[in-house]
Amino acid sequence: MSEQLAMSPDFEEDQPRAQEVHEADALLLDIDGYEGPISVLLELARNQKVDLRQISILELARQYLGFVERARTLNLNLAAEYLVMAAWLAYLKSRLLLPQEETGEEHTAEEVAEALQFQLRRLEAMQNAGEALMSLPQLGQEIFKRGMPEGLSVNTTIRYNVELYDLFKAYGDIKRRNEDQGYDLPEFQLMSAENAMSRMTRMLGQLPRKGMHTAWTTLESFIPEGIKSKLFGRSALASSLTAGLELAKQGKLEIKQDGLFRPVYLRAVSDLSDAEVAAQDG
């Protein structure tokens, strides 16, 4: 946007006055000494030689755009941030000049101008404060510390919080470790797949039958009741599912699940045909 702005013939008609060309040149010569566009804006504002509270943001914007334009004329490459600032100022300028209208922006152009002015005043205050700091008498320049400090020493003595018991225990640990060669596998009580299979086969026979199929039953109802061990409970669930899958493969039951993490249902498949079932019922 700013480049378009800079190349616009209309804009070129807006030639900065001779004195400002000079100002911009001084700024551009020392551009490395400035910390970005705000720093340049502050320098331009100072050149207006008025209290920053009286500063004209419109005039400042015009000067800044002149500075950017001058850089272009001299074929100097300004960092992108300077061009972004130029675009922003051009926009602010247009908003300030246009009659007030509902732009839907959060802040009015005047508020934004105030903010910019505040920003410049605050930065100037900090730059002045920095100068004031540097003009204070400084250590090593005007104030001196002792040239040959003897220094203070710290002698640290360490006390160990160890008792005889700790010593014996450490020795005992070593002895025990040496005795405990080999590793005992911990015993786990689990439900075996065989156990689950026989249990499920037995239970399927007892389920109510109707038609070719018995009723759908949840997987958990095949698990023994009153299990107290979490581990045993999990193994029972896993083994029962395995047994169920095996029985399904053998065609003795059907398994269904409505979705991920939904209950698993099983039902027995009758060996008899529908007709035979009907005959039996009759």
Binding site: E35, I38, L97, E114, Q119, L123, M126, I143, L152
Partner: protein
């Protein structure tokens, strides 16, 4: 001379760096009235070539400020601080505790690597508490060495601090918030006039026709 006063004097003379009252408590004999002894010692050295200075609770002997001229032979040549570093230092000093983002906001530029580093290396700034806002950003504050460097007793002695406070310029918030929320900016008649002038400047209107600007944008 009181034995404890002698010990305190020797401790402060021997120490390479300022000693905090609590350091002194640790090193002084049991039951010594460190606070009272410090006062006594400071009085003893009042008006002398060497003075006992209180750096916000840390104590050190330093040559009297008014003897700068006579001591110029001791002066070391120090590297000049960069403009960026000085700006950052004064912002941290006057706005502390202040986050890096706030410093950048006030300066209007991102902080280059090395700017804050050089101040930390000089021992003039250190991390303060984290701000209890989203992201819990780290804040920066000045150190005892900073006070020592500039011969200040506390940060309340920073030059021009009261004026800056009164002017509302010690506001860490982004300019748009700070400016629009501070009543005096809008209430100020001079301000209003300045703004009105801005808007009524015929020369500006002639030079930069709004239509042209719009076209460009």
């Amino acid at each position: 001379m009181d034995e404890n006063l002698r010990i305190l004097e020797a401790l402060l003379f021997a120490a390479a760096e300022p000693l905090r009252t609590q350091d002194l408590h640790e090193r002084m004999p049991e039951g010594a009235d460190v606070g009272g002894l410090l006062m006594e010692l400071q009085k003893l050295y009042d008006g002398r070539g060497v003075e006992l200075v209180d750096l916000d609770g840390a104590w050190a002997f330093r040559t009297a400020k008014d003897l700068a001229e006579a001591l110029s032979v001791e002066r070391h040549i120090t590297k000049k601080m960069s403009k960026a570093a000085l700006e950052t230092l004064s912002i941290i000093a006057y706005h502390q505790p202040v986050t890096r983002a706030e410093v950048e906001n006030i300066r209007g530029v991102a902080t280059h690597r090395g700017t804050l580093d050089s101040l930390i290396e000089a021992g003039w700034v250190k991390p303060g508490r984290r701000r209890e806002t989203p992201g819990r950003p780290l804040t920066w504050v000045t150190t005892t060495s900073f006070l020592d460097q500039f011969g200040l007793e506390s940060i309340m002695d920073l030059p021009g601090l009261d004026d800056l406070k009164a002017s509302g310029l010690l506001d860490r918030r982004p300019a748009i918030e700070a400016a629009s929320l501070s009543g005096d900016l809008f209430g100020d008649e001079a301000e209003e006039r300045a703004l009105a002038q801005d808007l009524n400047r015929d020369d500006l209107k002639e030079e930069d026709a709004p239509e042209d600007m719009l076209e460009e944008l």
